[in-house]
């Protein structure tokens, strides 16, 4: 299980763990709670090149489908086969075995545009205050 304090976050609730140019992407605890029962995950194909902010993965609940955006640009290096087989893993371990895909970042500096955990928590509070979801 990753410590969320070490991760970067998007406003669309993806998290990114970055070590050099090696990135791992998942969705936040808050996001999995909002989506609730994840019943289907369609990760991106390995080898696909994505741009920062590009929709590249689908997570679906009983009620709705959610696009997952690439937190940084790069090439997909792995898709999590475990969440394809057992989508509820995204709910159970959103910061661990419920990761969605890995990528090799082409411009790791892009991660500077993302929020750290404290800023993300602040963002969630302001979202809740506005009552928008």
């Amino acid at each position: 299980m990753l410590d969320p304090k070490t991760l970067k976050f998007m406003k669309s609730h993806e998290w990114l763990e970055l070590a050099g140019d090696a990135g791992t992407v998942g969705i936040s605890h808050h996001a999995q709670k909002e989506i609730t029962d994840v019943v289907f995950v369609e990760p991106p194909k390995v080898g696909r090149k994505v741009k920062q902010g590009e929709a590249c993965c689908v997570v679906e609940s009983v009620k709705a489908a959610f696009d997952i955006y690439a937190p940084v640009s790069g090439e997909i290096t792995a898709a999590n086969a475990d969440v394809v087989k057992d989508p509820a893993l995204v709910n159970r371990e959103s910061y661990g075995r419920g990761w969605l895909f890995k990528l090799k970042a082409s411009a790791p500096a892009e991660a500077g545009k993302l929020m750290n955990h404290a800023a993300y928590e602040q963002f969630l509070l302001s979202e809740a205050a506005h009552g928008s979801h």
């Binding site: 029962d37 289907f40 679906e60 009983v62 009620k63 489908a65 928008s132």
Partner: protein
């Protein structure tokens, strides 16, 4: 952004919020789409018991000596098949055989009937009933604002209801009884829309919260759970039940909706009969058909269905079925004689996902005897 439309609330509104319900706008009513989890609520209903606030449903009482003749005229099903203490599922049709509404009619006593109708159609149904009541000695009372409604559904529902009302628990499937609850006149029927055994409590709004809390309290040791509209929609689709306005409407006939068992052409005259006879003779050109994905995926309403490389229709209801662990849906396909097992494809996220035609219902509860699912 604020929604300027004022949503109607049921007497259970505060309870839904306290239970963590996520409230949404459903045909102008503010109702919980889920509490904690659609999957867990679905599971509770299939294996134990689920409680649903269905107070948005409408209640129209039909009374007087002409009641049966009137109901026979406006229903495709044969209302003379039920006597006092029995209920029946039926379709009210227009002259073209299109479905004005799907209803459950209970015979409470001789010359005293209750039609439970859909929320969005209360006003149009009432207008339709009034228009066709001319010449019959009947009185129509729309009591939708007076009554709330709770559905108690699942294999343990009988035991739970037995602790609250032994009289209700003694009802047979599709039984109905009018009785006093907390000193007020109420109706309890052994019906529901989940494909499980269950009961529907139709009680005045001011005592609805007491009944809800009674069932919650008695149900706790049975693992009963409050359930939202999300679970209800999955349960009813698995069971092959129609969602009025989405799966069937004035432009689709009962035959096209694959509900021909509701139509009793030999019962005498009724509105829509001629049109249905013509459809029967000519054959229908589209039929509501069940589709099941052969790969993982979640089909959605609006998804195109392909057979032999051409689009045969679109899904009008679709979801992930927790009971089958597969994507399922129904749609009007322009090939009305498709056999179960026929390969097809459903377009999802720009890709054609392999699927097959399956018989409806998708899921038949092992807790319900065959042949009693709808009276």
């Amino acid at each position: 952004m604020s929604n300027s439309a004022i949503l109607r609330r049921t007497p259970l509104h505060e309870s839904h919020k306290a239970l963590g319900g996520k409230l949404v706008d459903f045909h102008g009513w503010e109702l919980p789409v889920q509490y904690e989890s659609i999957i867990r609520e679905h599971e509770a209903t299939r294996h134990r018991c689920g409680l649903f606030d269905v107070s948005h449903m409408g209640q129209i009482f039909v009374t007087g000596p002409g009641s049966l003749d009137f109901l026979q005229k406006i229903n495709a099903n044969d209302i003379s098949r039920i006597g006092p203490g029995q209920a029946i599922y039926s379709h009210v049709l227009n002259d073209q055989g299109g479905v004005v509404d799907d209803v459950i009619v209970s015979c409470l006593a001789k010359d005293r009937y209750l039609a439970v109708v859909n929320a969005a159609t209360v006003e149009s149904d009432l207008a339709w009933f009034q228009m066709h009541a001319r010449g019959f000695n009947v009185r129509l009372d729309n009591r939708s604002d007076h009554f709330g409604m709770i559905a108690v559904q699942g294999p343990r529902a009988g035991e739970i209801v037995g602790l609250i009302s032994p009289q209700a628990a003694g009802l047979a499937r599709f039984g109905a009884v009018e009785l006093d609850v907390y000193g007020q006149s109420a109706v309890i029927t052994r019906t529901g829309y989940t494909g499980e055994d269950g009961f529907e409590f139709i009680v005045p709004e001011e005592i609805l919260i007491r009944v809800w809390e009674d069932v919650l309290a008695q149900g706790r040791s049975f693992g009963a759970a409050p359930c939202g509209l999300g679970a209800r929609d999955v349960l009813r689709l698995e069971a092959g039940y129609l969602l009025y306005g989405q799966d069937v409407d004035q432009d689709h006939s009962t035959f096209e909706a694959n509900y021909s068992w509701v139509v009793k052409l030999d019962k005498g005259d009724f509105i829509g009969k001629e049109a249905l006879q013509k459809q029967k003779a000519a054959g229908i050109t589209r039929r509501l058909t069940g589709v099941r994905l052969l790969e993982r995926g979640v089909p959605r309403a609006g998804a195109a269905v392909f057979i032999d490389g051409r689009q045969a229709g679109t899904l009008c209801s679709a979801t992930f079925s927790p009971s089958l662990q597969a994507g399922i849906g129904v749609g009007y396909l322009d090939r009305p004689a498709l056999k179960a097992g026929t390969r097809c494809g459903v377009r999802l996220h720009g890709r054609e996902v392999p699927a097959e035609i399956v018989a409806i219902p998708f899921y038949a509860s092992p807790h319900l005897k065959k042949g009693v699912r709808h009276a």
